[in-house]
């Protein structure tokens, strides 16, 4: 349990950092880390597909992709810091979390028909039989991710060619 709490705290911290950091690369790294932690959380909570999906698409593909491309691109001008944002965001974030906690508490009480977690073995079957379109969608996302990699890295290869 404590591991999970630690992971959750890590998730929150990384997310906040991703939002607050002004350096794009660092922000991207934080986002990747947050996604990674989330993926691990999914795994630990018995949702390996979701975990794999999270890590592969969000953490793996997109964030890394951005990280790399941003790193490869010369930086633009500095973004001006705003004190207001620094104050406002944590404020709202904490508020949000607080509300979240309250709501979740209610939620857990209210949810009546929480379905049993599908068996790991049967999951593939369910996925195929019941949620074919989801699968198609996920394939699409991954495919889009791959294409995005191709697209975003084309410049470098072009540069290399030149």
């Amino acid at each position: 349990m404590s591991v999970q709490i630690l992971l959750l705290i890590g998730l929150v911290l990384f997310s906040v950092a991703a939002v607050l950091l002004k350096d794009l690369i660092k922000a991207a790294i934080c986002l990747a880390a947050a996604s990674l932690v989330l993926g691990i959380l999914f795994f630990r909570m018995g949702a390996p597909y979701a975990g794999a999906f999270e890590i592969s698409v969000v953490a793996g593909l997109i964030t890394v992709l951005f990280m790399l491309t941003i790193a490869l691109t010369k930086t633009g001008g500095d973004v001006a810091e705003s004190k207001l944002a620094r104050v406002a965001f944590p404020l709202f974030f904490i508020l949000f979390l607080a509300v979240d906690v309250i709501v979740t508490k209610n939620l857990v009480q209210k949810i009546v028909a929480l379905p049993a977690a599908p068996e790991a073995g049967a999951f593939g079957e369910v996925l195929w039989k019941q949620r074919t379109l989801d699968l198609v969608g996920q394939v699409c996302i991954i495919f889009a991710g791959v294409l995005a990699v191709l697209a975003l890295f084309r410049k470098r290869s072009k540069d290399n060619d030149d």
């Binding site: 991703a18 939002v19 794009l24 922000a27 991207a28 986002l31 698409v57 969000v58 997109i62 951005f66 491309t69 941003i70 691109t73 010369k74 930086t75 633009g76 709501v103 209610n106 939620l107 209210k110 949810i111 009546v112 028909a113 929480l114 379905p115 195929w128 039989k129 019941q130 949620r131 074919t132 379109l133 989801d134 198609v136 969608g137 996920q138 699409c140 996302i141 495919f143 889009a144 991710g145 294409l147 995005a148 191709l150 697209a151 975003l152 084309r154 410049k155 072009k158």
Partner: protein
């Protein structure tokens, strides 16, 4: 075959990168535009017949075995499919010349097609999770497309887009999860029924709030809009046109509308909430647009403002309001697509997006200027263009529903709209030509062709508004209106 709307672009997208090795330009151009054309023609011809007997759901056979691919087509979906096909065809045609210097066209078209497939899938989806999934499909493709220029600015914008979009997805996902938890199902109808049976008012309301925030983010309603003015201008012009013209509407407004009308039912609370958001967006974004120097940023803010109008109309929830909202969605898709495309032409010719540096371009770029004017006036709601009729219907609906304050604000916001569009006209096109632009040239043929098609559509819709309204928009509005009557008795 409803599935074709998703499958065809996907398959073509899969083939394109391979074919791109063979032919870097011509083949991707032809193939992808043919795909868009096919989608358009198919929607226009077959779509009507499919839904002739009412909304349909179709299942797919996979190697003789039935698999659960359930897609639903009704008037609203067909209307959206038409809009998507129309604008993407024009954007596709525009890309033929415009994307020349970006390189890797095959890749670009593939992403483009995936985005279209994602939107089509979203439109046809019949359950909540699918909505989420296709939302992500379109979104992921659009992240890459926004960053397609690979400059620092583009990447930053795309990253910002990604960040906020992920938040949106999270909101939506949480909402979906809670609903799933509450009702044990994900299909629209099943969830709707489940909600009716459950005494779960507050929880459902919470989900509704989450959806408003999530889809509001996607639709860039104020205060969820901040990503859009960065993301849309940074993208290549045809993509800006797609994003502003379609993506925010499909993944934002359509999804929101669909879920609210088919699942929750539009209670007066939701109605007021949506109208409030809509009116704030319409006014604030119009004011923000007024201050922009960057033509595409201005257009982006304008999109937010117009989305506000659409939400205002649909949120009103009366049949007339929905009709107006949907019609405005369509008109805005056409006009904003057109405007972004022309801004692309301008950017290509002058190399700048800064309005202060332009001036008198109409002299050298008459077609671009003329089509831009048509688009501007259409969005500003100047008759006899399409935008006028949709705004008129929205305002009529507002007045009929006795929502005078909203009507007045909507009217005044349209003056603001005209104001900043006149700024574009004055600074970019209408005026004495600047010395430095003496030698610029009109946009290449395909770009011009695309803009002209859209401009003609804007005019045509304006002139034949009755036919368009009757044959396309009314069936779509009926779907929603029926949803309202079906669900409202339950609402408070």
């Amino acid at each position: 075959m409803v599935f074709l709307f998703v499958a065809v672009p996907l398959v073509v997208a899969g083939v394109l990168p391979l074919l791109g090795k063979l032919s870097k330009r011509v083949l991707p151009d032809i193939l992808s535009n043919l795909t868009f054309l096919f989608l358009l023609v198919y929607a226009a011809t077959a779509g009507r017949q499919i839904i002739a007997g009412g909304p349909v759901s179709q299942q797919i056979l996979w190697f003789g075995e039935p698999v659960q691919i359930l897609l639903g087509l009704d008037g609203l979906a067909l209307f959206m499919l038409m809009a998507i096909a129309l604008v993407s065809l024009c954007a596709g045609i525009f890309s033929i010349d415009y994307m020349e210097h970006y390189g890797a066209k095959a890749n670009y078209y593939a992403l483009f097609l995936i985005m279209v497939a994602g939107m089509n899938g979203l439109v046809l989806a019949k359950d909540l999770f699918q909505v989420y999934l296709f939302l992500e499909v379109a979104a992921v493709a659009s992240y890459a497309l926004v960053a397609y220029g690979l400059g620092y600015e583009e990447l930053e914008a795309a990253f910002k887009y990604l960040l906020l979009s992920v938040v949106a997805s999270a909101f939506v996902l949480i909402g979906v999860t809670v609903l799933f938890g509450l009702t044990g199902s994900l299909g629209f109808e099943a969830v709707g029924r489940g909600l009716q049976e459950l005494p779960a008012g507050p929880m459902a309301a919470l989900c509704a709030a989450l959806f408003v925030a999530g889809f509001g983010l996607k639709a860039a309603l104020i205060p969820f809009h901040a990503w859009l003015p960065d993301a849309h201008p940074s993208a290549p012009a045809p993509i800006s046109a797609m994003l502003s013209g379609l993506l925010i509407k499909v993944s934002g407004i359509y999804a929101l509308t669909r879920i609210f009308f088919s699942v929750f039912g539009l209670t007066s609370l939701l109605s007021n909430l949506l109208m409030g958001l809509g009116v704030i967006s319409a006014v604030v974004a119009a004011l923000l647009a007024l201050g922009q120097k960057d033509i595409k940023r201005m257009l982006a803010y304008s999109s937010i403002s117009q989305v506000g109008y659409i939400v205002l109309g649909i949120g009103l929830g009366t049949p007339l309001g929905i009709l107006g909202g949907l019609f405005h969605l369509f008109n805005h898709a056409l006009a904003k697509g057109l405007l972004f495309l022309t801004s692309g032409s301008v950017q290509m010719a002058t190399g700048t997006r800064n309005l202060d540096e332009m001036g008198g371009l109409a002299k050298r770029m008459p077609w671009t200027a003329a089509t831009n004017l048509v688009g501007s006036l259409s969005i500003a709601g100047v008759p006899p263009l399409g935008g006028f009729w949709s705004k008129l219907v929205i305002i009529m609906a507002l007045v009929q529903a006795g929502r005078w304050p909203y009507a007045v604000i909507a009217v005044l916001a349209s003056v603001l709209t005209l104001w900043y569009y006149l700024l574009i006209q004055r600074k970019a096109f209408f005026g004495k030509i600047e010395e430095r632009w003496k030698d610029i040239r009109e946009a290449p043929f395909w770009m011009t062709a695309a803009t002209v098609i859209l401009a003609l559509l804007c005019i045509g819709v304006g002139i034949f508004f009755a036919a368009v309204l009757k044959s396309w928009v009314q069936p779509a509005a009926d779907v929603l209106a029926q949803g309202v009557t079906a669900v409202i008795p339950r609402g408070r």
